[in-house]
Subunit: 472 residues, 2 copies
């Protein structure tokens, strides 16, 4: 996943356990009324049917097994590649095989950035090869690379203390210590632009992670307008610290950076699976994950897990013959990693019907053990979700996080006023693997995926079936 900078700077995230704040509960009771609260509580039997089927019944391990088959077959699925399109075809067939006919794809133009050879070598004060991953859309260097002295800064403020003359002809290394992804990722997203504005030849960023085994993390970045595009890449925590220590001691650190890539655009597809509602088929409860991944690792975590628990929602409901009043739409977003490209295309295409989106959900921050939901919406909307979450205390997934911009793709739609939620899960190690070669099946756990699929399905079903729409 990528996170928008609006989230990074402005979102206020409050953790509210649905069960432990009586004052909040009282407010919700007044807002919702006893009747709706009782109605929601009445879904406990359907919840049990779904949980039992996934945790102890025929669907046990199915999410993990299908994810493993998929990931092992295709590996990485970068935007614009044939592999991504083949993986989309595979998902369509897999869903078709479950008896679904209502499968639509919507074409759009997507970026196709292809990584070539990449090398960073410290030349002074001694020779050391450094692990590197170019950032998305980075331009190439010349064949011989860029050889220049390094200036190390902790943040943009520190960069601004240098005159343009100090930076011209240099390589800027951003070395921000990870606090949160939202706060730290700006040095990856905007670092090249800010360094170029001061005349740097290239920029490097300390990988956006709290932990490393010399593992570089790629990710998206965008060149600002009216500045020279310069090559930009991530190095590891270890090498960033090494360079900083040398730099702080007054050593002259000289690097050679060679990086090559190509860029064009291709056609890809968002995929929409509709499980039609019995009473209000025009109204949608959307569950989603993105099918594209970075070119490193295999996108098992980012976002294979989210893709497969969202695939599982209509499949589980159909197998159980559970038919909600509203339509459940499962969307497999394309080209998330290079800028939520599939989501923007969907929002534009479906703008006129967006009033029909009752609630939109996405899982793109890991599918570790589910803890609840991060919810955007007005107070009444959050109260309804909080009541629903009370049904999941037995699996420890009752926490409601107030978040004005949850998810990655869905943030594009939520910012138009649609209420929605992202899976809140036990993802403390998410950024250890995020956008690295380590994003492979080993990160995933069978039982946690079962919990996620069961929770995701039951929540979507209840929202799609209750007597009231989620208010805006």
């Amino acid at each position: 996943m990528i996170l928008s900078l609006s989230f990074a700077f402005f979102a206020t995230t409050l953790f509210v356990s649905a069960n432990v704040i009586p004052k909040n509960s009282e407010e919700c009771r007044t807002l919702l009324g006893d009747h709706l609260i009782e109605e929601i509580a009445g879904y406990s039997k359907i919840r049990d049917v779904i949980l039992n089927y996934v945790l102890e019944g025929d669907f046990t391990s199915k999410t993990y097994d299908e994810l493993a088959k998929f990931v092992d077959k295709f590996g990485a699925r970068p935007s614009g590649t044939d592999t991504l399109e083949q993986s989309i075809d595979y998902m369509i067939q897999l869903t078709h095989d479950e008896g679904f006919e209502d499968i639509t794809t919507e074409e759009l133009e997507v970026p196709h950035w292809t990584r070539g050879q990449e090398e960073v070598t410290m030349l002074e004060p001694r020779i050391k090869n450094m692990a590197v991953l170019g950032l998305g859309r980075s331009i190439s260097t010349a064949t011989e690379g860029i050889t220049a002295q390094v200036v190390v800064v902790k943040n943009f403020d520190q960069l601004d203390t240098f005159s343009d003359k100090d930076i011209e002809g240099k390589i800027v290394l951003y070395d921000p210590i990870f606090t949160s992804y939202g706060e730290t990722v700006q040095y990856r997203s905007l670092g090249a632009t800010r360094a170029a504005a001061k005349g740097a030849l290239a920029s490097l960023v300390r990988s956006i992670t709290p932990f490393s085994i010399n593992s570089p993390h790629t990710g998206s970045q965008n060149y600002g307008e009216n500045v020279t595009k310069i090559p930009t890449a991530a190095i590891t925590l270890e090498d960033a610290d090494l360079i900083r220590r040398l730099y702080d001691k007054g050593e002259k650190v000289v690097l050679n950076i060679k990086m090559f890539s190509t860029y064009d655009t291709q056609i890809s597809r968002n995929t929409l699976i509709d499980y039609k509602g019995t009473e209000n088929p025009e109204k949608l409860v959307i569950v989603s994950g993105h099918i594209d991944s970075w070119d490193v690792g295999q996108g098992a975590m980012d976002d294979g897990g989210g893709l497969f628990i969202s695939w599982a929602v209509p499949v589980i409901l159909k197998r159980l013959n559970l038919k909600p009043k509203r339509t459940i739409r499962s969307i497999f977003w394309t080209a998330e990693e290079l800028g939520l490209v599939g989501a923007y295309a969907y929002e534009e295409k479906h703008r006129n019907e967006s009033h029909n989106i009752n609630f939109i959900m996405e899982s793109d921050e890991g599918t570790f053990a589910p803890l609840g939901l991060a919810v955007a919406g007005n107070k009444e909307a959050r109260c309804i979700v909080a009541e629903i979450l009370k049904l999941f205390t037995s699996i420890n997934a009752s926490t409601l996080v107030e978040d004005d911009s949850p998810g990655s793709d869905i943030s594009v739609i939520i910012k138009t006023g649609v209420p929605g939620a992202s899976l809140h899960n036990d993802n403390g190690k998410y950024f250890w693997f995020h956008h690295t070669e380590g994003d492979m099946m080993n990160v995933e756990d069978e039982h946690e995926l079962d919990l996620g699929a069961a929770f995701w399905t039951a929540v979507a079903y209840i929202i799609a079936d209750i007597s009231t729409d989620i208010p805006r």
Copy 2:
């Protein structure tokens, strides 16, 4: 560090907290007598002087700072390289600058195995590049590499279920799940030999670690006699699992392995720093770590930390003007990683004086927070050490682990009957970084190194100063 297979198979390791087993304490009291026990307890003041000097005085952070300077300056220090020899010269100068004159080096012939280009590519069922590290002393492939089908086995027993005909012309992948290093490392150490005996063209091993961010772990291996030498390397947990899943589903997995290396021998040196005893200068208490490292990472953990806390022992004592009765010898072993080569040379050269080694200590399993000592020796020897460890409850370093083959280099000397100990430390993550590119300064912690240096120094001083020799 490497661990000998004798340790792997036969050592019994018992954790005994020096403070919590009264029965043991009672036995020790009978064995040692009240007088010796009181004498040991009487070292509390000197312990405080050392702990204060390192934890709160002028030596605070010194161990970390000197280690960082050293590691940043030299990086990896593989056996047989000029870099290793320059790093030895540096350590001699650093020690000389502290006013030591009694510095000896002892030359020996060491292996010089140099890694060249290495690539493992899965060709079927799909193309995937795999992270790889050749194992020490592995031979090269031909230029075009070895292309062959994979047979996956969990262990040697499973390999033996295959006929030679099944294995001939294949690549064997050992995929043992990590239990302990001692138990699992045999598939790295002996894998090539066992696979070659059945006609394999090459062997791969799942990296010897419980955790990975797609990080391969190198390490030593030895070709047995009378078998064909075949190329051998480690791949990551993630790729081993991927191959195993495909293999278990009946897929034909074909790999191409290209790996190149050179091998010769060079001259290196063990380094001996003597801090002469006041009453029995011929009697030695040895503290030690190895100065060579693998070629990946920078040997900050393995064994820079052990090297520097052992360097610190005479330095701290000299600075504090603390002069024990026996001589403290700090040894920087060379060429540990390719088979304890420096230690074997020392043992051979000094065999006639080995009765003078009162006690031998090594730190080569990390310098995380010290917890105590892993001790080899007879009951009386262990009782003396247990009494000494009681002095370190305040820093939580009082645990005595009974271990018949502690350490790596020193195991060579301990097996001749010399009592000794290895640093027992909070090294639960040691194997996450061991023999990887991630063995860099980021693994090390300033305060934990201070604790280690203080503990190591105080223990060595007390053993070198008490009225009784450590009995054999």
